[in-house]
Amino acid sequence: MTAFTVTQNLPYPTGTDLVQDMPIHMRRLAEATDARLSVQDAAIVESRNPPLAVVRQKLDRSYATTADPVYEYDEVVVDTFALADLAEDNRVLRLKKIGWWVIGGYVSNRGAGGSPGRQRLYLDGTGGMSYYQMSQSNHDGNTSAITLSIDTICRVSNAATARVRLLGNFSGTSIASTVLSDTTMLWAYWMREL
């Protein structure tokens, strides 16, 4: 009677089995081992190619500075896990796997002005993410370009609802009512299990 190993469920013959049936038992063991190793191979491939997406906006786009603008994108640079759906929502990446993610963004704005003024950039998450808000600031004495980039690690516990988006924030004296963003990027890649 066939028995099975405790952890990997691999079959082997026991004392009541016939010696002449060894080919059958060996085939079962070989095929079970084959299946188990194939699962291992798939896990390695998945680990080597984690979910990754980069979306980008390369054409000038105007944003109001009165409220924190949510940056938008019109191009999917890379997407290995269907994280981006710009037709559905061109402002977010969907973090569709439970675990720890690296998320980040990059924005080049011009025309904010301020005397002095300050721009911030932060990542905002929904749907079970924590550690979702980071910022970076700088002073701006004129209307030239300001380019900022940020990264953080976030925890995703609900893969069905987790989203990340990139926002700006403007403060100071004599800030212009709008800024022109000429390059905007948002990225996310899965790092490890919780």
Binding site: M26, A30, T33, D34, I44, R48, H139, D140, S144
Partner: protein, 199 residues
């Protein structure tokens, strides 16, 4: 007659005749599994070692000229994991997608006029022939304005695809009319960590 499993090509006897030679057939299977596990182990080890190139600046670069671009040559790198400090650039990447982190520290003295610019650029270049480099493919920027003297640090991060011929250079623009000295400090580092292959 020996048969092989579909994916891993593990041998097993397919006839009663081989069943009578169970010892050798079992050995063949065990050795095939052993060999396959070595391959799997090696793949796991390789997976855990994400290629990372790091260059840091050991000695400050002094007296940089203002109002012009300066190539921050990382020839004084104190640590280069897979980098190439002798070429003063980061290059020879295993093709794939990389997460790049840059921090550039800069100190200046003298009068700092309001609105003076600090611009850090990471310039990516691809070769067009085997013996020369092409024009810049992409330039990633950190740009801000500082109004005070002393050391400031400027961070730049991005995700991009890098190839075996890609060269990454670090450039700095210090726009100012009042400061008398600019130093790129040792708090300067460039790193690139591979996320995955060229998907």
């Amino acid at each position: 007659m020996t048969s092989l499993t579909k994916n891993q090509k593990l041998p097993y006897p397919s006839s009663d005749q081989e069943g009578a030679r169970g010892g050798s057939a079992t050995q063949a299977l065990a050795e095939a599994v052993d060999a396959r596990l070595i391959v799997v182990d090696a793949a796991w080890v390789a997976e855990q070692q994400h290629e990372t190139k790091i260059l840091t600046l050991n000695n400050p670069i002094t007296a940089l000229a203002a109002n012009t671009y300066s190539n921050v040559l990382m020839e004084t790198a104190q640590k280069a994991v897979g980098g190439n400090p002798s070429t003063q650039q980061i290059m020879a990447f295993d093709p794939g997608w990389y997460h790049v982190f840059i921090n550039l520290g800069v100190a200046c003295s003298g009068t700092i006029n309001a609105g003076t610019r600090r611009r850090v650029e990471a310039r990516l270049r691809e070769p067009v022939q085997w013996d020369r480099f092409g024009t810049y493919r992409e330039t990633y920027v950190h740009e801000e304005y500082q109004t005070t003297a002393g050391e400031t640090n400027h961070g730049l991060t991005f995700v991009t695809k890098l190839g075996s011929g890609t060269t990454m250079e670090l450039w700095y623009w210090h726009q100012n009319t009042g400061s008398t000295l600019t130093i790129v400090t040792a708090n300067t580092v460039v790193s690139a960590t591979r996320i995955c292959g060229d998907v």
